[in-house]
């Protein structure tokens, strides 16, 4: 367990360092980037920049200072919005994005697992076909199109939900569904095929032979093993929901960090892009680590010391 944890942690830190180094180099080499030397800036602005970013120091020293600053939890400042730090953006936006992400993950898990079970128990019957059609649509419609369509029909045409903004639970529904569509489809397929496989195993026959009710067999014995692979999918699921929320937050004008990130890209606000990238990378990798750990804890068959690729 300890070795596994250590190995994953090392990978994570190396990967994070890689991203940070990459973003640091980025700041200095991008043509037209924030510190590009060919750009003519007013004397006073240059002086401020120099003071803030130690541009007169040798490159390696700048790098060390950048790392020190990150270690202190300071992700830098926006180049566009004067006086706003990346940390400000995260403090305001992250709770919003996290709420949206958590609701989407819940929707995906609940509907995905239910659909998968229904499909598996009614293999090749009409319920299965409907679930398959749903999953196929989920696979083939990009989330930003799904978001726009949901907005068009449920907010604009029949006015069931608000079209945009944030604040009440009703604001969460449409964006969360849009984000959850693809993972729901994916989870339902995983659960379906696993459930079918598990139901044919001997221990299920034993349980049935012992005279257990069908309900107990399915929900107590089979389901546990059938949804195990879903746990491995949680890492990519969380990453997908959070990166997917870039576009969904943009469409629904939700004040989360996803929208901030998109705006920073449009504005070429390098300070914000880099700060948020480092934040996203760290956050998603941490999530992945937690998922890996929980998987190892849930399934005793998993060997902890070595993870096969």
């Amino acid at each position: 367990m300890g070795r596994f944890l250590l190995q994953r942690l090392t990978y994570m830190l190396v990967a994070l360092l890689l991203i940070i180094t990459f973003t640091f180099i980025l700041m200095h080499v991008v043509p037209g980037g924030p510190f590009a030397s060919e750009k003519q800036l007013p004397e006073s602005v240059m002086k401020n920049l120099n003071e803030k970013f130690h541009l007169n120091d040798p490159l390696w020293l700048q790098y060390v200072k950048y790392l020190q600053q990150l270690l202190k939890g300071d992700l830098g400042v926006s180049f566009k919005y004067e006086g706003r730090t990346v940390n400000d953006f995260i403090k305001n936006g992250f709770p919003v994005s996290a709420t949206l992400g958590a609701v989407s993950v819940m929707i995906a898990l609940i509907f995905g697992i239910s659909l998968g079970i229904i499909s598996a128990l009614n293999q090749n019957k009409w319920q299965d076909y409907i679930a398959t059609i749903f999953a196929t649509i989920g696979f083939s419609v990009p989330s930003f199109i799904m978001a726009s369509l949901l907005m068009y029909f449920f907010a604009y045409k029949i006015k069931l939900f608000p079209t945009a903004m944030w604040g009440t639970p009703a604001h969460v529904v449409l964006p969360a569904i849009a984000l959850a569509t693809l993972p729901t489809a994916f989870i339902s397929r995983i659960v379906r095929s696993n459930m079918i496989e598990v139901l044919q195993q001997d221990y299920i026959k034993t349980a049935r032979a012992k005279g257990m009710s069908e309900r107990v067999v399915i929900y107590k014995h089979a389901l546990k093993n059938a949804i195990l692979p879903v746990v491995t999918y949680l890492g990519p699921l969380i990453a997908g929901v959070f990166t997917g929320s870039f576009v969904v937050e943009k469409i629904f004008a939700i004040p989360g960090i996803g929208r901030d990130f998109v705006i920073s890209i449009v504005n070429r606000d390098y300070g914000l892009i880099l700060g948020l990238t480092v934040f996203y990378a760290a956050f998603l990798m941490l999530m992945n680590l937690l998922v890996d750990l929980s998987y190892a804890l849930i399934d005793p068959r998993i060997k902890l010391t070595r993870k096969e690729g």
Partner: protein, 304 residues
């Protein structure tokens, strides 16, 4: 008894064939083709892809309007007899633009798949074939890189490089090869212990030749499936990037950028989103069907 030459004459061929049990022998690829043809969904997918490719080739010339021709008197027209898919906010013909976008989107999908194939096969092949410390180091690199959320990678690459098609290929290729490398390595590891590889080695073939001529061809099945499924994934990601404003820039168009424009105007002119969205979804479906069909056809043991 003396054995004469006459006693050793071969039997008549026809008699032997009558005794034969079974069907004519088929090669592996003939089997694959036949299994694939039996899969209705996969065949539908293939037909759709062929139609899409044909339309991408000739579509932009059919309506008589070019993709960047603007007509300010005909702005935001609904589909009609002159503009079959309607026009956009600058009065450009959406029919032409949708098929022009099909070219770009398919190009993105296919070229990315080829790039990923080349990098992945070389990297995974070398890693798997040489094994030992080389493999250890190369796979650690892959593991570290793949622990970074890949869309962040793509966005960062797109932000630093100049916008354009080439950048999209590079950014997508730079990210998606990781899975391909893993897949190829696994295959190569399994194959390199086989006798025919040993035979080639004994005959003095160079490692590169063994890899390229003997091992890789035998790993083609799973690789082709992965490439087929790579194409819709790349189209998807390009659409997503276009939506963030990082894809191809106007007046060029991809399905992603068309859909992105359409989203802005959805309440007033829904058809501007409908057509690109429809074709993106159809393409996803078709490639996924073909990919699944190929997977089933290539692996005779695969569960249906």
């Amino acid at each position: 008894m003396e054995i004469t030459r006459e006693l050793l004459t071969p039997l008549e061929k026809s008699g032997l064939e009558a005794e034969a049990i079974g069907k004519p022998r088929t090669t592996y690829w003939q089997d694959v083709r036949r299994n694939f043809r039996k899969n209705k969904l996969a065949m539908v997918g293939l037909v759709v892809i062929i139609l899409l490719v044909i339309m991408a080739a000739i579509g932009p010339y059919l309506s008589g309007h070019t993709y960047d021709e603007q007509n300010y008197k005909m702005v935001n027209q609904p589909p009609n007899s002159q503009y079959w898919f309607g026009t956009d906010s600058l009065g450009r013909d959406l029919f032409t633009r949708v098929w022009y976008g099909a070219r770009i989107s398919l190009e993105v999908g296919i070229i990315t798949a080829i790039l990923v194939f080349i990098i992945g096969v070389l990297y995974g092949g070398i890693s798997g074939y040489f094994g030992g410390i080389v493999d250890e180091i190369m796979m650690r690199i892959v593991e570290i890189l793949s622990s970074i959320p890949f869309l962040l990678w793509v966005i960062l690459l797109m932000v630093i490089m100049e916008p354009g098609l080439k950048t999209i290929f590079i950014a997508l290729g730079a990210v998606y090869w990781l899975n391909m490398a893993r897949l190829v390595r696994g295959q190569v590891l399994a194959l390199k212990e086989q006798e025919y590889v040993l035979a080639a080695k004994v005959l003095g073939a160079s490692p590169l030749r063994i890899l390229v001529r003997h091992i890789i061809p035998n790993t083609m099945g799973p690789i082709i499936v992965a490439m087929t499924l790579m194409i819709p994934e790349a189209i998807f990601t390009e659409a997503w990037l276009s939506f963030l404003g990082l894809g191809v820039s106007a007046p060029m168009a991809s399905w992603g950028s068309l859909a992105s424009d359409g989203v802005q105007a959805i309440t007033a002119y829904p058809w501007q989103l409908f057509f690109p969205a429809f074709f993106i979804s159809i393409t996803m479906l078709a490639f996924n069907f073909v990919g699944d069909g190929l997977r089933d056809a290539l692996d005779p043991r695969a569960r249906r």
